[in-house]
Symmetry: none
Protein backbone atom coordinates (compact mmCIF):
# COMPACT_ATOMS: atom_id res chain seq x y z
CA UNK A 1 0.00 0.00 0.00
CA UNK A 2 2.90 2.29 -0.31
CA UNK A 3 5.44 3.27 -2.83
CA UNK A 4 6.68 -0.24 -2.75
CA UNK A 5 5.40 -3.61 -1.83
CA UNK A 6 6.95 -4.97 1.33
CA UNK A 7 7.51 -8.54 2.36
CA UNK A 8 5.33 -9.91 5.10
CA UNK A 9 8.29 -10.47 7.32
CA UNK A 10 9.19 -8.75 10.53
CA UNK A 11 10.72 -5.37 9.85
CA UNK A 12 14.26 -5.71 11.09
CA UNK A 13 15.09 -2.08 11.63
CA UNK A 14 13.77 -0.99 14.99
CA UNK A 15 13.06 2.52 13.87
CA UNK A 16 11.20 1.49 10.75
CA UNK A 17 9.32 -1.10 12.74
CA UNK A 18 8.15 1.49 15.21
CA UNK A 19 6.99 3.76 12.41
CA UNK A 20 5.22 0.93 10.68
CA UNK A 21 3.60 -0.06 13.93
CA UNK A 22 2.30 3.41 14.60
CA UNK A 23 0.90 3.88 11.15
CA UNK A 24 -0.70 0.50 10.95
CA UNK A 25 -2.07 0.66 14.45
CA UNK A 26 -3.76 3.90 13.53
CA UNK A 27 -5.14 2.35 10.40
CA UNK A 28 -6.32 -0.72 12.24
CA UNK A 29 -8.18 1.27 14.84
CA UNK A 30 -9.71 3.35 12.13
CA UNK A 31 -10.95 0.22 10.41
CA UNK A 32 -12.30 -1.08 13.67
CA UNK A 33 -14.13 2.14 14.23
CA UNK A 34 -15.65 1.97 10.78
CA UNK A 35 -16.73 -1.59 11.36
CA UNK A 36 -18.33 -0.62 14.64
CA UNK A 37 -20.07 2.33 13.05
CA UNK A 38 -21.28 0.65 9.90
CA UNK A 39 -22.47 -2.51 11.56
CA UNK A 40 -23.28 -1.26 15.04
CA UNK A 41 -21.30 -3.98 16.72
CA UNK A 42 -19.19 -4.31 19.82
CA UNK A 43 -15.50 -4.61 19.24
CA UNK A 44 -12.31 -4.46 21.24
CA UNK A 45 -8.69 -4.40 20.18
CA UNK A 46 -5.72 -4.72 22.44
CA UNK A 47 -2.21 -4.42 21.09
CA UNK A 48 1.19 -4.05 22.65
CA UNK A 49 3.73 -1.94 20.83
CA UNK A 50 7.21 -3.28 20.10
CA UNK A 51 8.25 -1.41 23.19
CA UNK A 52 5.62 -3.14 25.27
CA UNK A 53 3.26 -0.24 25.66
CA UNK A 54 -0.42 -1.18 25.55
CA UNK A 55 -2.85 0.42 23.14
CA UNK A 56 -6.51 -0.31 22.96
CA UNK A 57 -9.67 0.44 21.08
CA UNK A 58 -13.14 -0.47 22.15
CA UNK A 59 -16.73 0.10 21.25
CA UNK A 60 -18.36 0.85 23.56
CA UNK A 61 -15.18 0.14 25.48
CA UNK A 62 -12.60 -2.52 25.94
CA UNK A 63 -13.79 -3.85 29.23
CA UNK A 64 -17.45 -4.36 28.28
CA UNK A 65 -16.49 -6.32 25.19
CA UNK A 66 -13.83 -8.38 26.89
CA UNK A 67 -16.19 -8.98 29.75
CA UNK A 68 -18.89 -10.18 27.47
CA UNK A 69 -16.44 -12.41 25.69
CA UNK A 70 -15.30 -13.85 28.96
CA UNK A 71 -18.92 -14.36 29.86
CA UNK A 72 -19.25 -12.05 32.72
CA UNK A 73 -22.56 -10.68 31.72
CA UNK A 74 -23.08 -7.29 30.19
CA UNK A 75 -25.47 -8.50 27.61
CA UNK A 76 -27.02 -5.11 27.15
CA UNK A 77 -27.55 -5.74 23.54
CA UNK A 78 -30.42 -6.58 21.31
CA UNK A 79 -29.11 -9.88 20.19
CA UNK A 80 -29.13 -13.16 21.95
CA UNK A 81 -27.92 -13.21 25.44
CA UNK A 82 -26.53 -15.97 27.47
CA UNK A 83 -29.11 -17.72 29.52
CA UNK A 84 -28.17 -16.58 32.95
CA UNK A 85 -26.73 -19.30 35.00
CA UNK A 86 -25.42 -21.05 31.98
CA UNK A 87 -22.33 -22.99 32.72
CA UNK A 88 -21.24 -23.33 29.14
CA UNK A 89 -19.81 -19.88 28.86
CA UNK A 90 -16.19 -20.78 29.13
CA UNK A 91 -16.57 -23.71 26.86
CA UNK A 92 -18.07 -21.56 24.22
CA UNK A 93 -15.34 -19.05 24.59
CA UNK A 94 -12.75 -21.69 24.12
CA UNK A 95 -14.62 -22.93 21.11
CA UNK A 96 -14.55 -19.45 19.66
CA UNK A 97 -10.84 -19.25 20.27
CA UNK A 98 -10.47 -22.47 18.39
CA UNK A 99 -12.69 -21.16 15.66
CA UNK A 100 -10.46 -18.14 15.48
CA UNK A 101 -7.45 -20.35 15.06
CA UNK A 102 -9.29 -22.27 12.41
CA UNK A 103 -10.03 -19.08 10.57
CA UNK A 104 -6.37 -18.18 10.63
CA UNK A 105 -5.60 -21.53 9.16
CA UNK A 106 -8.14 -20.90 6.46
CA UNK A 107 -6.59 -17.53 5.75
CA UNK A 108 -3.17 -19.04 5.36
CA UNK A 109 -4.63 -21.73 3.19
CA UNK A 110 -6.23 -19.22 0.92
CA UNK A 111 -3.03 -17.30 0.66
CA UNK A 112 -1.15 -20.43 -0.22
CA UNK A 113 -3.62 -21.32 -2.91
CA UNK A 114 -3.47 -17.87 -4.40
CA UNK A 115 0.29 -18.08 -4.47
CA UNK A 116 0.21 -21.45 -6.10
CA UNK A 117 -2.09 -20.17 -8.78
CA UNK A 118 0.11 -17.17 -9.35
CA UNK A 119 3.11 -19.43 -9.53
CA UNK A 120 1.41 -21.60 -12.09
CA UNK A 121 0.51 -18.59 -14.17
CA UNK A 122 4.03 -17.29 -13.97
CA UNK A 123 5.40 -20.57 -15.19
CA UNK A 124 2.88 -20.73 -17.99
CA UNK A 125 3.69 -17.20 -18.94
CA UNK A 126 7.36 -17.92 -18.93
CA UNK A 127 6.76 -20.95 -21.08
CA UNK A 128 4.83 -18.95 -23.62
CA UNK A 129 7.45 -16.24 -23.75
CA UNK A 130 10.24 -18.72 -24.01
CA UNK A 131 9.13 -19.93 -27.39
CA UNK A 132 10.35 -23.37 -28.14
CA UNK A 133 13.00 -23.50 -25.50
CA UNK A 134 12.25 -24.48 -21.99
CA UNK A 135 15.52 -23.27 -20.66
CA UNK A 136 13.96 -20.32 -18.99
CA UNK A 137 11.41 -22.40 -17.21
CA UNK A 138 13.99 -24.89 -16.26
CA UNK A 139 16.15 -22.26 -14.80
CA UNK A 140 13.28 -20.82 -12.84
CA UNK A 141 12.21 -24.11 -11.48
CA UNK A 142 15.74 -25.01 -10.69
CA UNK A 143 16.30 -21.85 -8.76
CA UNK A 144 13.03 -22.31 -7.01
CA UNK A 145 14.02 -25.73 -5.95
CA UNK A 146 17.27 -24.48 -4.57
CA UNK A 147 15.54 -21.62 -2.93
CA UNK A 148 13.10 -23.95 -1.32
CA UNK A 149 15.84 -25.97 0.22
CA UNK A 150 17.41 -22.92 1.74
CA UNK A 151 14.06 -21.65 2.86
CA UNK A 152 13.15 -24.92 4.43
CA UNK A 153 16.25 -24.90 6.52
CA UNK A 154 15.71 -21.36 7.65
CA UNK A 155 12.11 -22.19 8.33
CA UNK A 156 13.03 -24.86 10.80
CA UNK A 157 15.40 -22.60 12.65
CA UNK A 158 12.94 -19.73 12.80
CA UNK A 159 10.22 -22.04 13.86
CA UNK A 160 12.06 -23.26 16.88
CA UNK A 161 12.87 -19.72 17.89
CA UNK A 162 9.29 -18.65 17.61
CA UNK A 163 8.02 -21.60 19.52
CA UNK A 164 10.23 -20.99 22.48
CA UNK A 165 8.38 -18.66 24.73
CA UNK A 166 5.21 -18.90 22.80
CA UNK A 167 4.53 -22.38 23.91
CA UNK A 168 5.01 -21.24 27.44
CA UNK A 169 2.52 -18.49 26.99
CA UNK A 170 0.00 -20.78 25.45
CA UNK A 171 0.44 -23.29 28.15
CA UNK A 172 -0.07 -20.80 30.91
CA UNK A 173 -3.19 -19.29 29.48
CA UNK A 174 -4.70 -22.53 28.38
CA UNK A 175 -4.04 -24.09 31.70
CA UNK A 176 -5.69 -21.24 33.47
CA UNK A 177 -8.60 -21.57 31.18
CA UNK A 178 -9.03 -25.22 31.95
CA UNK A 179 -8.40 -24.97 35.62
CA UNK A 180 -10.88 -22.20 36.09
CA UNK A 181 -13.39 -24.14 34.10
CA UNK A 182 -13.01 -27.10 36.35
CA UNK A 183 -14.63 -25.47 39.29
CA UNK A 184 -17.90 -25.09 37.51
CA UNK A 185 -20.62 -27.58 37.00
CA UNK A 186 -21.05 -28.14 33.36
CA UNK A 187 -24.48 -29.56 33.57
CA UNK A 188 -25.45 -28.93 30.04
CA UNK A 189 -28.22 -31.04 28.76
CA UNK A 190 -27.61 -30.65 25.08
CA UNK A 191 -24.70 -32.92 25.22
CA UNK A 192 -26.64 -36.09 25.68
CA UNK A 193 -25.52 -37.66 22.50
CA UNK A 194 -21.95 -36.65 22.70
CA UNK A 195 -20.57 -40.01 23.44
CA UNK A 196 -21.91 -41.40 20.25
CA UNK A 197 -19.43 -39.61 18.15
CA UNK A 198 -21.51 -36.97 16.54
CA UNK A 199 -19.32 -35.24 14.12
CA UNK A 200 -19.14 -31.61 13.22
CA UNK A 201 -20.98 -28.58 14.42
CA UNK A 202 -22.80 -29.30 17.52
CA UNK A 203 -22.50 -26.22 19.58
CA UNK A 204 -23.74 -23.73 17.08
CA UNK A 205 -25.60 -21.34 19.22
CA UNK A 206 -25.31 -18.15 17.28
CA UNK A 207 -26.93 -17.44 14.02
CA UNK A 208 -24.12 -16.14 11.89
Amino acid sequence: MGRRKIEMKMVTDRSCRQVTFSKRRTGLFKKANELATLCAVQIAIIVFSPGGKPFSFGNPGVEPVVGRFLNRGDEHHDGQSEPSGSATGRSERLVEELNGIQRRIQLEKKRGEALEKALARAKASAAAAGGGSDSLISRSVEEMGMEELVEMRRRLVDLREQLDGRAVEMEASSTLLLLSNKSESAGDSRGGSWGGGRRRRSVAKWRD
Copy 2:
Protein backbone atom coordinates in the same frame (compact mmCIF):
# COMPACT_ATOMS: atom_id res chain seq x y z
CA MET B 1 -13.13 1.41 -0.98
CA GLY B 2 -15.57 -0.01 -3.39
CA ARG B 3 -17.43 1.00 -6.46
CA ARG B 4 -18.98 3.76 -4.48
CA LYS B 5 -18.17 5.67 -1.41
CA ILE B 6 -20.46 4.88 1.45
CA GLU B 7 -21.51 7.03 4.32
CA MET B 8 -20.17 6.21 7.72
CA LYS B 9 -23.57 5.44 9.06
CA MET B 10 -25.00 2.19 10.20
CA VAL B 11 -26.04 0.11 7.23
CA THR B 12 -29.78 -0.13 7.56
CA ASP B 13 -30.42 -3.25 5.55
CA ARG B 14 -29.80 -6.26 7.73
CA SER B 15 -28.57 -8.39 4.89
CA CYS B 16 -26.15 -5.81 3.56
CA ARG B 17 -24.98 -5.13 7.07
CA GLN B 18 -24.16 -8.76 7.56
CA VAL B 19 -22.25 -8.89 4.31
CA THR B 20 -20.36 -5.73 5.13
CA PHE B 21 -19.57 -7.11 8.54
CA SER B 22 -18.18 -10.33 7.16
CA LYS B 23 -16.01 -8.64 4.58
CA ARG B 24 -14.68 -6.00 6.89
CA ARG B 25 -14.10 -8.41 9.71
CA THR B 26 -12.00 -10.48 7.37
CA GLY B 27 -10.09 -7.43 6.29
CA LEU B 28 -9.59 -6.29 9.85
CA PHE B 29 -8.22 -9.64 10.96
CA LYS B 30 -5.95 -9.66 7.97
CA LYS B 31 -4.61 -6.27 8.90
CA ALA B 32 -4.13 -7.40 12.45
CA ASN B 33 -2.23 -10.42 11.24
CA GLU B 34 0.01 -8.23 9.13
CA LEU B 35 0.65 -5.90 12.01
CA ALA B 36 1.55 -8.80 14.22
CA THR B 37 3.84 -10.22 11.57
CA LEU B 38 5.57 -7.04 10.52
CA CYS B 39 6.09 -5.71 13.99
CA ALA B 40 6.21 -8.92 16.00
CA VAL B 41 3.71 -7.68 18.53
CA GLN B 42 0.95 -9.20 20.60
CA ILE B 43 -2.55 -8.30 19.54
CA ALA B 44 -6.08 -9.42 20.25
CA ILE B 45 -9.37 -8.53 18.66
CA ILE B 46 -12.79 -9.46 19.90
CA VAL B 47 -15.87 -8.57 17.92
CA PHE B 48 -19.50 -9.55 18.12
CA SER B 49 -21.41 -9.87 14.89
CA PRO B 50 -24.73 -8.13 14.38
CA GLY B 51 -26.26 -11.45 15.32
CA GLY B 52 -24.34 -11.56 18.55
CA LYS B 53 -21.86 -14.23 17.60
CA PRO B 54 -18.35 -13.69 18.89
CA PHE B 55 -15.33 -13.65 16.62
CA SER B 56 -11.79 -13.25 17.74
CA PHE B 57 -8.27 -12.93 16.54
CA GLY B 58 -5.19 -13.18 18.67
CA ASN B 59 -1.46 -13.36 18.39
CA PRO B 60 -0.29 -15.48 20.01
CA GLY B 61 -3.86 -15.90 21.21
CA VAL B 62 -6.67 -13.87 22.69
CA GLU B 63 -6.28 -15.08 26.22
CA PRO B 64 -2.58 -14.25 26.60
CA VAL B 65 -3.02 -10.73 25.32
CA VAL B 66 -6.16 -10.00 27.28
CA GLY B 67 -4.57 -11.43 30.36
CA ARG B 68 -1.53 -9.29 29.98
CA PHE B 69 -3.67 -6.27 29.39
CA LEU B 70 -5.87 -6.85 32.39
CA ASN B 71 -3.04 -7.65 34.71
CA ARG B 72 -0.49 -5.10 33.78
CA GLY B 73 -2.39 -2.65 31.65
CA ASP B 74 -1.16 0.87 32.06
CA GLU B 75 -4.34 2.32 30.72
CA HIS B 76 -7.09 0.08 31.96
CA HIS B 77 -7.37 -2.67 34.43
CA ASP B 78 -10.03 -4.04 36.63
CA GLY B 79 -7.84 -5.78 39.07
CA GLN B 80 -8.61 -9.18 37.72
CA SER B 81 -6.06 -11.68 38.76
CA GLU B 82 -5.96 -15.30 37.88
CA PRO B 83 -4.87 -18.00 40.21
CA SER B 84 -1.98 -20.00 38.96
CA GLY B 85 -1.66 -23.68 39.11
CA SER B 86 -0.15 -26.66 37.45
CA ALA B 87 -1.51 -28.43 34.49
CA THR B 88 -3.42 -31.60 34.75
CA GLY B 89 -2.98 -34.46 32.36
CA ARG B 90 -6.01 -33.55 30.42
CA SER B 91 -5.19 -29.91 30.14
CA GLU B 92 -1.69 -30.75 29.16
CA ARG B 93 -3.00 -32.64 26.25
CA LEU B 94 -5.27 -29.83 25.19
CA VAL B 95 -2.43 -27.42 25.57
CA GLU B 96 -0.30 -29.57 23.40
CA GLU B 97 -3.02 -29.67 20.81
CA LEU B 98 -3.28 -25.94 20.85
CA ASN B 99 0.44 -25.56 20.59
CA GLY B 100 0.43 -27.95 17.72
CA ILE B 101 -2.13 -25.99 15.85
CA GLN B 102 -0.20 -22.84 16.49
CA ARG B 103 2.91 -24.44 15.13
CA ARG B 104 1.05 -25.45 12.03
CA ILE B 105 -0.19 -21.97 11.53
CA GLN B 106 3.38 -20.80 11.64
CA LEU B 107 4.33 -23.42 9.13
CA GLU B 108 1.58 -22.36 6.80
CA LYS B 109 2.72 -18.81 7.10
CA LYS B 110 6.26 -19.78 6.33
CA ARG B 111 5.10 -21.77 3.41
CA GLY B 112 3.33 -18.78 2.00
CA GLU B 113 6.43 -16.70 2.35
CA ALA B 114 8.55 -19.29 0.67
CA LEU B 115 6.19 -19.61 -2.24
CA GLU B 116 6.02 -15.90 -2.52
CA LYS B 117 9.76 -15.69 -2.80
CA ALA B 118 9.82 -18.45 -5.33
CA LEU B 119 7.21 -16.65 -7.33
CA ALA B 120 9.17 -13.43 -7.28
CA ARG B 121 12.20 -15.30 -8.43
CA ALA B 122 10.34 -16.98 -11.21
CA LYS B 123 8.99 -13.71 -12.43
CA ALA B 124 12.34 -11.99 -12.22
CA SER B 125 14.02 -14.83 -13.97
CA ALA B 126 11.44 -14.85 -16.70
CA ALA B 127 11.57 -11.13 -17.09
CA ALA B 128 15.32 -11.04 -17.24
CA ALA B 129 15.01 -13.42 -20.15
CA GLY B 130 17.94 -13.84 -22.42
CA GLY B 131 19.65 -16.15 -20.01
CA GLY B 132 21.29 -18.94 -21.89
CA SER B 133 21.13 -22.31 -20.32
CA ASP B 134 22.87 -25.53 -21.00
CA SER B 135 20.59 -28.44 -21.10
CA LEU B 136 23.23 -30.92 -20.11
CA ILE B 137 24.19 -29.84 -16.65
CA SER B 138 21.11 -27.98 -15.62
CA ARG B 139 19.00 -30.83 -16.84
CA SER B 140 19.80 -32.97 -13.86
CA VAL B 141 19.58 -30.13 -11.45
CA GLU B 142 16.39 -29.13 -13.06
CA GLU B 143 14.88 -32.50 -12.54
CA MET B 144 15.98 -32.52 -8.97
CA GLY B 145 14.48 -29.14 -8.42
CA MET B 146 11.32 -30.21 -10.08
CA GLU B 147 11.05 -33.30 -8.00
CA GLU B 148 11.76 -31.28 -4.96
CA LEU B 149 8.98 -28.90 -5.79
CA VAL B 150 6.48 -31.57 -6.59
CA GLU B 151 7.30 -33.48 -3.46
CA MET B 152 7.15 -30.44 -1.30
CA ARG B 153 3.88 -29.36 -2.73
CA ARG B 154 2.41 -32.75 -2.13
CA ARG B 155 3.43 -32.62 1.48
CA LEU B 156 2.12 -29.14 1.89
CA VAL B 157 -1.19 -30.07 0.40
CA ASP B 158 -1.40 -32.97 2.78
CA LEU B 159 -0.61 -30.72 5.67
CA ARG B 160 -3.34 -28.35 4.67
CA GLU B 161 -5.85 -31.11 4.54
CA GLN B 162 -4.77 -32.29 7.92
CA LEU B 163 -5.02 -28.85 9.37
CA ASP B 164 -8.54 -28.40 8.17
CA GLY B 165 -9.70 -31.65 9.62
CA ARG B 166 -7.71 -31.13 12.72
CA ALA B 167 -9.18 -27.78 13.51
CA VAL B 168 -12.69 -29.07 13.20
CA GLU B 169 -11.79 -32.04 15.29
CA MET B 170 -10.34 -29.81 17.92
CA GLU B 171 -13.46 -27.80 18.11
CA ALA B 172 -15.73 -30.73 18.68
CA SER B 173 -13.38 -32.59 20.93
CA SER B 174 -12.60 -29.63 23.10
CA THR B 175 -16.21 -28.91 23.55
CA LEU B 176 -16.86 -32.49 24.45
CA LEU B 177 -14.04 -32.43 26.90
CA LEU B 178 -15.25 -29.35 28.62
CA LEU B 179 -18.90 -30.24 28.66
CA SER B 180 -18.24 -33.61 30.13
CA ASN B 181 -15.77 -32.12 32.46
CA LYS B 182 -17.33 -33.37 35.59
CA SER B 183 -18.24 -36.82 34.42
CA GLU B 184 -14.63 -37.36 33.81
CA SER B 185 -12.61 -40.40 33.15
CA ALA B 186 -9.97 -38.84 31.09
CA GLY B 187 -8.02 -41.89 30.23
CA ASP B 188 -7.02 -40.99 26.79
CA SER B 189 -3.72 -41.39 25.42
CA ARG B 190 -1.55 -40.01 22.93
CA GLY B 191 -2.26 -42.03 19.99
CA GLY B 192 -5.89 -42.47 19.68
CA SER B 193 -8.46 -40.20 18.38
CA TRP B 194 -10.69 -38.57 20.86
CA GLY B 195 -13.70 -39.92 22.50
CA GLY B 196 -16.05 -40.17 19.70
CA GLY B 197 -15.62 -38.49 16.50
CA ARG B 198 -12.63 -39.16 14.55
CA ARG B 199 -12.14 -38.38 10.98
CA ARG B 200 -10.85 -40.58 8.35
CA ARG B 201 -7.48 -38.99 8.40
CA SER B 202 -5.41 -39.98 11.32
CA VAL B 203 -3.25 -37.13 12.24
CA ALA B 204 0.33 -38.09 12.42
CA LYS B 205 2.10 -36.20 15.12
CA TRP B 206 4.44 -33.79 13.50
CA ARG B 207 7.32 -35.11 11.69
CA ASP B 208 7.82 -35.45 8.08
